[in-house]
C-alpha cells in the first residue's frame, strides 16, 4: 500500500511542477463552460423540459463533474505502449492499474479543488439562479452515479490505450476519436442530450457515454422519476461491469502481443 501512496505523493507533486500547463488546462475548461452558459442564457430552456435554474445548474455541475470523471493522466498509456516504455512499468513490482489509479486520484483531487474555486468565482460574476438538491437520497444516488461514471471512463480510456498493441501509430488517433469526439459530444459535456428527438435520445442511452456526464447531472437535478433514476443507475452499473471485463480481457490479449518496439 505504501508504494501506491508514494505514487500518489509524487503525482501530486508533479501537478505543481507544470503549474502553467495546469492553469491553461483549467482556463480551457472555463472557456467551454462560458460558451455553454451564454448559449443557454440566450434561449428558452423550457422547450427542452428545463427551467432556467435547472439548465444553469447543469452548466455549473458540468465544471465539477468534468473534474471528477474526465480528469485523468491515463491518456498517456497509449504512448507508453507504442514507444515501448510500458516495459518499465511492467518490470516494477506494482499492479499497473493500481499504479494508474494512484496517479489519477491526485489529479482528480486538484481538479476538483480548482473547479470548486472556479464555480465560486463564476457564481459571483454571473450570478445565476441555481438549483440546490436537498434530498439526501438523491445526493447518494448522484454520488453512486459518479463512481459508476469514473469506472466507465477509466475503462473507455484503457480500451483506447490498448489499440497501439496491434497498430503502434494509431494511439493518438483513437484517443482523439474516443475522448475528444465521442465522449465530448455523446456524454452530455457539450449539450444536454435530451435536446435530441426522443428516439435518438433513447438510442444514445443504450451506449455507455450518457452515463459519464448526462446521467449524473440528471440524477442530481432529480428531473426524472425514481424508477427512471434507478434504471439509469442499473444500466450505467452494467456498462461499468461489462467495460471493465472487456478492458481487462483486451489489455491481457494486448500484453501477449506486446513486443516493446523501440526498446
Amino acid at each position: 500500500m505504501d508504494k501506491y501512496f508514494s505514487v500518489f505523493k509524487i503525482s501530486l507533486a508533479q501537478e505543481f511542477v507544470y503549474k502553467l500547463n495546469f492553469i491553461m488546462w483549467r482556463l480551457r475548461n472555463i472557456i467551454q463552460i462560458l460558451v455553454f452558459f451564454f448559449l443557454w442564457n440566450s434561449i428558452d430552456p423550457t422547450y427542452f423540459g428545463y427551467t432556467q435554474s435547472s439548465i444553469m445548474s447543469y452548466v455549473f455541475l458540468l465544471i465539477l463533474i468534468r473534474s471528477i470523471v474526465l480528469s485523468t493522466k491515463s491518456t498517456d498509456v497509449s504512448g507508453f505502449v507504442s514507444s515501448g516504455d510500458l516495459s518499465n512499468y511492467l518490470l516494477k513490482p506494482v499492479g499497473f492499474f493500481k499504479y494508474l489509479l494512484s496517479r489519477d486520484i491526485p489529479t482528480k483531487i486538484i481538479n476538483i479543488t480548482f473547479s470548486l474555486f472556479e464555480i465560486s468565482v463564476l457564481y459571483l460574476i454571473l450570478k445565476p439562479n441555481l438549483f440546490i438538491q436537498t434530498d439526501l437520497f438523491q445526493i447518494l444516488l448522484f454520488i453512486l452515479s459518479l463512481i459508476i461514471a469514473g469506472f466507465i471512463y477509466f475503462s473507455i480510456i484503457m480500451l483506447s490505450n490498448s489499440a497501439p498493441f496491434w497498430v503502434p501509430d494509431i494511439g493518438w488517433g483513437v484517443q482523439f476519436l474516443v475522448t475528444i469526439i465521442f465522449v465530448e459530444f455523446l456524454s452530455g459535456a457539450f449539450f444536454p442530450l435530451d435536446v435530441f428527438p426522443k428516439p435518438l435520445f433513447e438510442f444514445l442511452k443504450l451506449t455507455p457515454f450518457p452515463y459519464l456526464i448526462f446521467v449524473p447531472i440528471q440524477t442530481y437535478l432529480g428531473g426524472v422519476s425514481t424508477v427512471e433514476t434507478f434504471k439509469n443507475i442499473i444500466i450505467g452499473g452494467l456498462w461499468a461491469i461489462i467495460l471493465w471485463i472487456v478492458m481487462n480481457k483486451v489489455w491481457k490479449k494486448g500484453l501477449k502481443v506486446y513486443e516493446a518496439v523501440g526498446r
Binding site: M24, V35, S42, L177
Partner: protein, 273 residues
C-alpha cells in the same frame, strides 16, 4: 517604366519561389501522413463526425426554439457553417504552428533561420494539414447551402467573400502572435489551444455573449471579426462603413502581429542548440 517592369518580375519570381516552397512542404507533409494511413482515416472520420455532431445539435436546438436571440434557425446554422469554414481553412494553412514549440526548445529553429526563406513563412505555413483538403469541400457546400437559404444579394455575397479573406488574415495574425509568444515563452501548445477555444465561441453569433466578454471577443481576440461579421454581411446587416472598418481592423491586426514577430525574433536566444 523599365524599372517597374523589373520590379514586377522580381515580385513574380519571389511569389513563384514561395509557391514552390509551399508545395514542397505540403508534399512532405502529405508523405509523412501517408506513412500513417490508419491515423489519417481515423482523424478524417473524427473531423467529419465532429461537424456532424455540431450541426445536428444546433439543428435540433434552433429548429425547436425558432432561432437564437432574434436570429432565425437558418441564420444560426449559417453562423456555425462560417465558423467551420474559417476554422478548417485556418487549420489547413497554419498547422505547423502546432509543432513550432519543438523547433524552439530543441534549438532546431536555428536551422530555419539559416535557410534562404522567410522564417515566419516556414513557421506558420510549413506543414499544411492535407487531411483538411478532404473536409474543406463539404464544409464549403454546407456554407453555400445554408447561405442560399438566406436569399443573399450579390453585394452580400461579395462582402461575405471579402470578409472571409479578412477573417483568414486575422487568423494568420493570431497564429503569428502565438508563434511570437512561443519564441519568448515556449508555451505555444496551450496558447494555440486557448485561441481555438476562444474562437469556438464564434460557433454562435457573438451577440449571445455579454460584456466584458463580448468586448474581449471583439477587440482582443477578434472572434466577432472572423466569424460573426462575415455571416452578418451575407445577411445584409453590415453597413459599407462596417465593412471598411472590419477590413481596416484586420489589416491593423496583421501589421501589429508582424511587428510583434520582429520583436520576438530579436529575443530568440537559441538556448538549446
Amino acid at each position: 517604366m523599365k524599372l517597374s517592369v523589373g520590379k514586377n518580375n522580381i515580385n513574380k519570381s519571389i511569389l513563384n519561389f514561395y509557391a514552390r516552397a509551399w508545395l514542397l512542404m505540403a508534399k512532405n507533409s502529405m508523405l509523412s501522413w501517408l506513412n500513417k494511413k490508419e491515423s489519417v482515416i481515423i482523424f478524417v472520420f473524427g473531423k467529419v463526425v465532429r461537424y456532424f455532431f455540431y450541426f445536428s445539435f444546433l439543428y435540433f436546438l434552433v429548429t425547436k426554439t425558432n432561432g437564437i436571440l432574434g436570429f432565425s434557425a437558418n441564420q444560426a446554422l449559417f453562423f456555425t457553417a462560417t465558423y467551420a469554414l474559417v476554422d478548417t481553412i485556418s487549420q489547413f494553412l497554419f498547422r505547423s504552428v502546432y509543432t513550432f514549440k519543438q523547433l524552439v526548445i530543441t534549438g532546431d529553429f536555428d536551422l530555419v533561420l539559416l535557410k534562404p526563406i522567410n522564417p515566419l513563412f516556414r513557421s506558420i505555413a510549413g506543414g499544411p494539414d492535407l487531411m483538411d483538403l478532404i473536409t474543406i469541400p463539404p464544409i464549403i457546400l454546407v456554407a453555400i447551402y445554408f447561405g442560399s437559404l438566406l436569399d443573399p444579394s450579390l453585394l452580400g455575397v461579395i462582402y461575405y467573400m471579402a470578409l472571409i479573406l479578412n477573417a483568414l488574415l486575422v487568423s494568420m495574425s493570431i497564429h503569428i502572435f502565438v508563434v511570437s509568444l512561443g519564441v519568448i515563452t515556449f508555451t505555444v501548445d496551450h496558447l494555440i489551444m486557448i485561441f481555438r477555444d476562444f474562437s469556438s465561441m464564434g460557433r454562435f453569433p457573438i451577440d449571445i455573449y455579454k460584456q466584458p466578454l463580448k468586448g474581449f471577443l471583439t477587440f482582443i481576440i477578434p472572434v466577432g471579426l472572423m466569424f460573426s461579421i462575415p455571416s452578418k454581411a451575407l445577411m445584409g446587416i453590415v453597413s459599407p462603413a462596417g465593412m471598411v472598418f472590419s477590413i481596416l481592423a484586420g489589416l491593423t491586426f496583421f501589421t501589429l502581429s508582424l511587428k510583434f514577430w520582429q520583436f520576438a525574433l530579436k529575443r530568440y536566444t537559441s538556448a538549446s542548440s
